[in-house]
């Protein structure tokens, strides 16, 4: 695994996560709906204008036999494909990495804008999970919020799969970094 940041000596990657696949589907669905909108125009025109001569002439032109209709639809779908592929690229290049010492958030804000921020686990004050709604509950994804002490900074991981499991990993790593007083006496 090649990382965009350097691991310290003895630091290991525990988990790398992206948003749940269903979140990606939800983000892509609007493109699918917008793609079929022009196909509804002839039916809508037929419904509104009925048997009028002008409407019939326009409807006769609005077929895939017409080169201009093909050009418009082809370019319309091409633009939507570009937008959808851009959404997928953004989905894939956004990532959270939990190591044995820190949490790294990699955020791709569109093209040519990439942010990599870290929160040390020994500064973590609170880890909260929120699974809210029908699909998140059924499919097991939600929000993981990590509050970092001192800087009062929050890490929000929206739409991550199995947030409780991630919270357990983080808490386990924190406890490994902070031995209990009993351990210290031993």
């Amino acid at each position: 695994m090649s990382l965009e940041f350097r691991l310290d000596a003895g630091e290991h990657v525990k988990r790398a996560v992206r948003k749940h696949w269903f979140v990606l589907i939800l983000e892509l669905l609007p493109f699918a709906f917008i793609a079929i909108v022009p196909l509804l125009i002839p039916a809508l025109l037929d419904f509104v204008a009925g048997e009028s001569g002008t409407a019939v002439r326009i409807l006769e032109m609005l077929t895939f036999e017409n080169g201009w209709v093909r050009l418009f639809m082809g370019l319309w779908w091409l633009i939507l494909w570009i937008a959808a592929f851009s959404t997928f690229t953004s989905y894939y290049l956004n990532e959270w990495i939990i190591t044995s010492r820190r949490i790294v958030e990699i955020t791709q804000h569109g093209f040519f804008s990439r942010e990599v921020s870290s929160a040390l686990l020994n500064h973590v004050q609170d880890v909260t999970t929120d699974v809210h709604g029908l699909f998140p509950t059924l499919l097991g994804y939600g929000v993981l919020t990590v509050q970092s002490a001192g800087t009062n900074e929050y890490f929000h991981m929206h739409g991550v799969p199995h947030p409780q499991e991630l919270r357990d990993i983080i808490m386990h790593e924190i406890s490994a970094l902070h031995p209990t007083r009993t351990d210290m006496k031993l």
Binding site: M1, S2, E4, F64, E65, N66, G67, W68, V69, R70, L71, M73, G74, L75, W77, L78, I79, W81, I82, F85, S86, F88, T89, Y92, L93, Q108, F111, F112, R114
Partner: protein
């Protein structure tokens, strides 16, 4: 009549830095060329990001291949109505 424009002057509108548009095919060519330039720019930028940040992932090459394939299919469809 003297005031009638010669045939070659009436064929099309000539504008500086603009190709001569004499038919619907010419206009379609210009529209498609502009769309292709935008697509090519997006593709170069997108591939750059995949190669820089996601090249170690198994999904990078199939994602780029899918983008090229779908784009090519849509561009062929868009131009297929003009012969």
């Amino acid at each position: 009549m003297d005031d009638v424009l010669p045939e070659e002057k009436r064929m099309g509108v000539e504008m500086p830095f603009m190709p001569e548009i004499t038919s619907a095919y010419d206009l379609a060519s210009i529209v498609f060329t502009l769309a292709f330039i935008l697509w090519a720019l997006f593709t170069i930028i997108s591939v750059y990001h995949w190669m820089r940040y996601g090249r170690n992932s198994w999904i990078a090459a199939p994602a780029i291949a899918l983008h090229l394939f779908v784009s090519a299919a849509l561009m062929l469809f868009a131009t297929s109505g003009f012969k």
